[in-house]
């Protein structure tokens, strides 16, 4: 799967994009966020408070209980602030 990070999520993690295999036991966006949080200091900081984060799967806004599949593009970012 492809993971994308934007704004301060990108900065805390230190990269904007990465590819990885869907981790075992992960079936939802929320589980993926929890798995990523355990990956290192930057990830832990970025995913410390999931309520501050939003997610998209294949470029659609989704809630954290949305399902994820091996070929998905999953993005994590703060609430949007355009306009």
């Amino acid at each position: 799967m492809t993971l994308l990070y934007f704004a301060w999520v990108r900065q805390k993690i230190g990269r904007s994009e990465e590819t990885l295999a869907l981790p075992e036991g992960v079936t939802t966006v929320g589980q993926l966020a929890a798995w990523l949080a355990a990956r290192g200091a930057g990830y832990a900081e970025a995913f410390a408070d999931p309520k501050r984060l939003r997610a998209a799967v294949n470029q659609d806004h989704v809630a954290f209980d949305a399902r994820v599949s091996p070929d998905d593009e999953v993005a994590f970012f703060p609430p949007v602030t355009g306009g």
Partner: protein, 147 residues
């Protein structure tokens, strides 16, 4: 006609009005909204980041939703990215319809939806420091009025 552009350069509102009305004899109203970067306090500039691909899709969905609600003859949304200084335009929403009531409503709807759905993020530069802008509950409230 649906026009969506995400670009660093500024836009010409009159040129966009001309484009949205060209050859459209039934247009009786064009409403435009131009958002400018407000120069609060010591704000030096804003830098806009977005999610290429999803941004265009999300804005297209906003326009599709507006077209279901009002009889539109055209809609143009231009959003700038990169670094923008106070006073400069950042976003344009232009809507053409036969009657002004529909054009006014659709323009406001599009701006409210864009604010809460299109994946853009603003970072403020003040003095030597940069800070990501927090989303505002009031923007969510405005968007919810249309549900």
């Amino acid at each position: 006609m649906k026009t969506i552009r995400i670009e660093a350069k500024t836009f010409d509102v009159n040129a966009e009005i001309a484009a949205i009305t060209q050859g459209m004899r039934k247009v009786g109203a064009v409403v435009t909204f131009t958002g400018h970067v407000r120069g609060d306090d010591d704000l030096m500039s804003l830098t806009l980041e977005h999610y290429p691909g999803m941004t265009e899709r999300e804005i297209a969905r906003c326009i599709d939703e507006a077209e279901k609600r009002w009889p539109l003859l055209g809609a143009t949304i231009i959003h700038r990215i990169g670094t923008i200084v106070p006073g400069d335009p950042i976003v344009l929403v232009a809507v053409a319809s036969t009657h002004r009531k529909d054009a006014f409503a659709a323009c406001e709807f599009l701006m409210d939806y864009l604010k809460t759905r299109a994946p853009f993020w603003k970072e403020e530069q003040r003095g030597g420091a940069a800070r990501w802008v927090e989303s505002r509950a009031s923007d969510e409230e405005r968007a919810k009025r249309w549900e």
